[in-house]
């Protein structure tokens, strides 16, 4: 007999090796390629903003849990770290540092901990932080450093609008897509990340690489990202087909802005997405549709943050109405 007493517990007595911590760190691993690209493109400023966001998120979580709520501190579970990274990925690299800290406070303090901590938040914390900053400091939040590319070498980074901003502004002044097209980076640069935008959203290729890793690791299922992108492609495709001079092509829409970052990393956030496959598809269609509507007809050039937050609010409702099919609820085959 061992010195320690025998353990008695209810079945099952084995457990899969999935833990929530592992899931969080898998997402963080998946975000590394996109982060490297942005450091390459934006330089050290991307590194500074990301580090500040991460550190302030962790510190806020620690401080609030320890001194305000007096509960167990959970900063090691990776969720605050992930929130910090995702928040930073949604910010321009030249944002003043204090704004990053304010964003972190809103993300961790208001969006996450005031709802009851990990698992109880209704909205994606990073996106709440981002949207708070966007509506509070619209000027700073919409001036991105644009990578000026000359024979694939970065010559200089100046501040400017993103591709989506250029299109929106151009269309507002009555230009046609052909005229605007000249100002846009080409598809290769969009894929690789030599374009303007928030820290994490610029390189579609790096994000897709991470997304594939997440799919391979089964951290996320294909339902949300594929449906979001497909909905966006179909909707923008219809408009583009009708009037290519006034609507950008689906390729531009998907590769620019936060579409891929949102579809793979923000909308799939486990806590704030539905719990059934059916529900996920509905949720993702909603995100895709609202994003396209905001992009084409709204005041903001980019709408995926708002779209995800709006659909987050519908998740409890979706969970209530899209239940898994109960076994034996309907007799499938009669006896022959």
């Amino acid at each position: 007999m061992s010195e320690q007493p025998i353990i008695v517990s209810a079945s099952p007595h084995v457990h899969s090796d999935r833990t929530s911590k592992k899931l969080m760190y898998d997402v963080i691993i998946a975000l590394i390629p996109a982060f490297l690209v942005s450091v390459y493109v934006f330089g050290v400023s991307a590194l500074i903003v990301t580090s500040v966001a991460i550190i302030s998120c962790l510190l806020f979580e620690y401080g609030i849990q320890k001194y305000l709520f007096k509960t167990a501190v959970t900063i090691t579970d990776g969720s605050a770290l992930l929130t910090g990274i995702l928040l930073a990925f949604n910010l321009p690299s030249n944002l003043p540092i204090w704004m990053v800290i304010v964003g972190s406070l809103v993300a961790i303090g208001i969006a996450k901990l005031s709802f009851g901590g990990l698992g109880f938040n209704i909205f994606n914390p990073a996106l709440v932080g981002r949207v708070f900053l966007l509506v509070s400091f619209p000027v700073q939040m919409t001036m991105w450093p644009t990578a000026i590319v000359n024979n694939t070498n970065i010559v200089d980074a100046v501040t400017g609008a993103t591709s989506l901003g250029v299109i929106k502004e151009g269309l507002l002044f009555g230009k046609t897509m052909t005229e605007i097209g000249a100002q846009l980076p080409n598809t290769t640069n969009m894929l690789l990340g030599f374009t303007g935008g928030s820290i994490g959203e610029i390189s579609a290729l790096a994000l897709l690489l991470g997304g594939l890793y997440l799919l391979y690791k089964k951290v996320i299922s294909w339902h949300i990202p594929v449906t979001v992108l497909a909905t966006m492609a179909v909707m923008t495709g219809i408009f583009w087909f009708i009037d290519p001079e006034h609507y950008a092509s689906p390729v531009i829409h998907i590769l620019s802005g936060g579409a891929i970052l949102g579809a793979f990393y923000m909308a799939t956030d486990l806590v704030t997405s539905p719990m059934t496959k059916k529900g996920m598809v509905i949720f993702a269609i909603g995100i895709g549709a609202i994003t396209v509507i905001i992009r084409l007809f709204g005041a903001y050039p980019e709408g995926i943050s708002f779209a995800i937050l709006i659909m987050n609010a519908f998740v409890p409702l979706i969970n209530t109405y899209f239940k898994p099919k109960r076994f034996g609820a309907k007799i499938k085959a009669k006896i022959v």
């Binding site: 320690q4 007493p5 025998i6 353990i7 008695v8 517990s9 209810a10």
Partner: protein, 292 residues
Amino acid sequence: MSESVLYSIFLLASLGIIAAVVLYLVSKKFYVYEDPLIGEVDAILPAANCGGCGSPGCKAFAEKLVKTEDISDLFCPVGGNAVMKMVAEVLGKQVAEKEPTLAVIRCQGACDVRPKTTEYQGPRNCAISAMIYSGETDCQYGCLGDGDCVAVCKFDAMYMDEATGLPVVITDKCTSCGACAEACPRDIIEMRPKHKKDLKIFVGCLNEDKAGIAKKSCDVACIGCSKCEDICPKDAITMLNNLAYIDPITCTLCRKCVEVCPTHSIIETNFPPKKVKKVEAIVEPEKIKTDA
């Protein structure tokens, strides 16, 4: 200028009138007649909503009191006789008089006398761990120590003693609603009549095992030796399945049983300390327990 002021006043006033009319119509339409007596009785009841009477809340109990012809078997344990008397006056019905009761914990198996032989892993909830097995100790009758009774008490009249791992009833706060007794999967908690000055004598054990096994699993277990039964002058003690039970009605609190119990499993509380003289008169003075 004055036009817009007037316009606002008119608009707000008309909105108010429309809302008032709608509210009036709706309240008329959905008006439910309720016996005014119900409200009256409900006002008398303690409003604890503990469910000790068997009805889900005081309002429901008031309704039951008003609607039932014979209410002699209905009783509000929290309000006790005083409240029931007032109810009887209002309703003009006969009510039964009951002796006030109190929850007592019939287990003394603290951590030091009842060794843990296994480790339970799972939700700390008596009802759930009771489903899986007989508990961390070898006694399958005793307290599981996960505090379902404390969680269910609405009057903060119970707490878990961290040193012993057993629940404790705060006598002054206990309203004898019986919720704890219901919650306990082991039926350790008994509602016993309150004696004067809160004196209590009861067997603090429910172990039905044979002497050797019971004693092995817990030092203070009742081993069914019948010594207390033999000494009781009033025949208040009965033995069943190796376990003594003291009938609270017949018991005269003479404390003779406490003295003879070899395992100290009979609990006496709130008695004044014994005089030295009396101690000497007893054969085995070291076995006297003054548990206060």
